[in-house]
């Protein structure tokens, strides 16, 4: 994601790595300090892929490098804006795996897994709710609200897991979609 954030900032005008870091931090409400190393690794990768290039005059010097977006970089960025995000959120995958593996291993009490997870989600929800109206930046507020909605859905899903478990519905195999 950092790749496109940097391309987007460079689409306006050429910038130093330091400017990129500052502008991005500012756009995110000034709450997050982005690791310099992360910015430079990403810039190096973008340069290798010819999506950005270093301005000619800076190439030999030891001074700061100015990065410029290339035509290919603009094309990549435009394509990214055109595409909806296809990949579903994966933040909760580990819970699902824990659920399945716990069942296979026969070592874990699924109710206990749910209880613990619920506790963790509720604590996260409390922490996020404390942020609403206080994140400072309206766009960051939106992100917080989004995370809250996701957590509420996660909590409802835990209820569903529990309900199905109690009714013994998880033991019956069902007709499944099979690979042709």
């Amino acid at each position: 994601m950092l790749k496109f954030a940097l391309l987007g900032l460079l689409a306006q005008d050429p910038k130093h790595g330091y400017d990129l870091k500052n502008e991005l931090e500012q756009a995110l409400g000034g709450h997050w300090e982005i690791n310099f190393g992360q910015i430079y690794t990403t810039l190096a990768r973008l340069e290798r892929d010819e999506l950005v290039r270093v301005a000619a005059e800076d190439r030999d010097g030891r001074g700061k490098k100015t990065y410029r977006i290339t035509a290919a970089g603009r094309k990549d960025l435009a394509a990214w804006f055109e595409e909806p995000v296809e990949k579903p959120r994966q933040l909760r995958d580990e819970f699902f795996i824990k659920w399945i593996v716990g069942k296979l291993a026969g070592q874990s009490d699924p109710m206990r897994i749910i209880d613990r997870q619920r506790q963790a989600y509720l604590t996260q929800l409390r922490d996020l709710t404390a942020l609403t109206g206080r994140a400072g930046d309206p766009n960051v507020e939106l992100m917080v609200e989004g995370a809250i909605l996701h957590l509420q859905a996660d909590l409802r899903w835990l209820d569903l897991c529990e309900e199905r478990l109690e009714r013994g519905e998880l033991e019956k195999p069902r007709a499944a979609i099979r690979k042709e």
Binding site: M1, G29, W32, R126, D127, A130, L151, E163
Partner: protein, 247 residues
């Protein structure tokens, strides 16, 4: 810590068109003094019925409810009314203010049966309305107030007799999320600084997350329990969130 509320295998069955509906199916609950407990569940899970039993507003079909170790079933109607008036404060989803009384009077009126001198009643009412941020609106009638303001009057009223226990039934149900947050912070504050106990029922996990402990209710039974520990570090929370988003 002492228990303020305890229920032992409490049940409630309603008759509806000749069909018995079990709203509460055997609940054992213990709430300590000064705790903020949220009971969360979908509609029809029995949470309001349970709250009515705890608040001595209704009698259980079987089982027992204790208030500070006193069994409610042994109290006569007079004693129950007294308990509700002096030791329990109620907050409802629909505010339930008296429309012909202004903000000040809505709070003050509930102190009139407590044998408090007029001067003290006035002082306490003003102080409570200041606490809930309505010092400037004391002479307004409820219909001139927003939903959030009405609920804040209701919170002040619930606290008027300095009850040990505050019961809240979907207190944010009719409010937008920002206004609701204000009410929840107020309830949190009641617990933290006044050491009063709060039991809130809600269908909203977000509201529930303000509590010290969350009980999940479904089909009239407690299905899960979660204690919320630690203190929020907002800076850290935001950091983690941004890091995930930008990964």
């Amino acid at each position: 810590m002492n228990m303020i509320v305890e229920t032992k295998n409490v049940t409630k069955t309603f008759g509806m068109n000749g069909i018995a509906v079990e709203a509460v199916r055997g609940i054992d609950l213990q709430v300590r003094e000064g705790e903020f407990v949220a009971i969360v569940g979908p509609s029809g899970s029995g949470k309001s019925s349970l709250l009515h039993l705890i608040g001595a507003m209704d009698h259980p079909t079987s089982g027992e409810v204790f208030f500070r170790e006193r069994p409610l079933s042994r109290m006569n109607d007079g004693a129950r009314t007294d308990l509700r008036a002096r030791e329990i404060g109620f907050i409802f989803q629909t505010f339930n203010l008296l429309p012909m009384l202004n903000v000040f009077e809505n709070v003050e009126v509930v102190m009139r049966f407590g044998g408090l001198a007029k001067r003290e009643r006035i002082q306490r009412t003003e102080s409570l309305l200041k606490t809930v941020g309505l010092a400037e609106r004391m002479r307004h009638l409820p219909n001139r107030l927003s939903g959030g303001e009405r609920q804040r009057v209701a919170v002040a009223r619930a606290l008027a007799n300095q009850p040990a226990l505050v019961l809240a039934d979907e207190p944010t149900g009719n409010l937008d999320s920002t206004t609701g947050t204000g009410i929840l912070e107020l309830l949190r504050e009641i617990c933290n600084s006044r050491k009063q106990t709060v039991i809130m029922v809600t269908h909203d996990f977000r509201a529930a997350s303000y509590a010290d402990r969350v009980l999940v209710l479904r089909d009239g039974r407690i299905r899960g329990e979660a204690g919320l520990k630690g203190v929020t570090d907002t800076h850290k929370t935001l950091n983690q969130l941004l890091e995930l988003e930008l990964e």
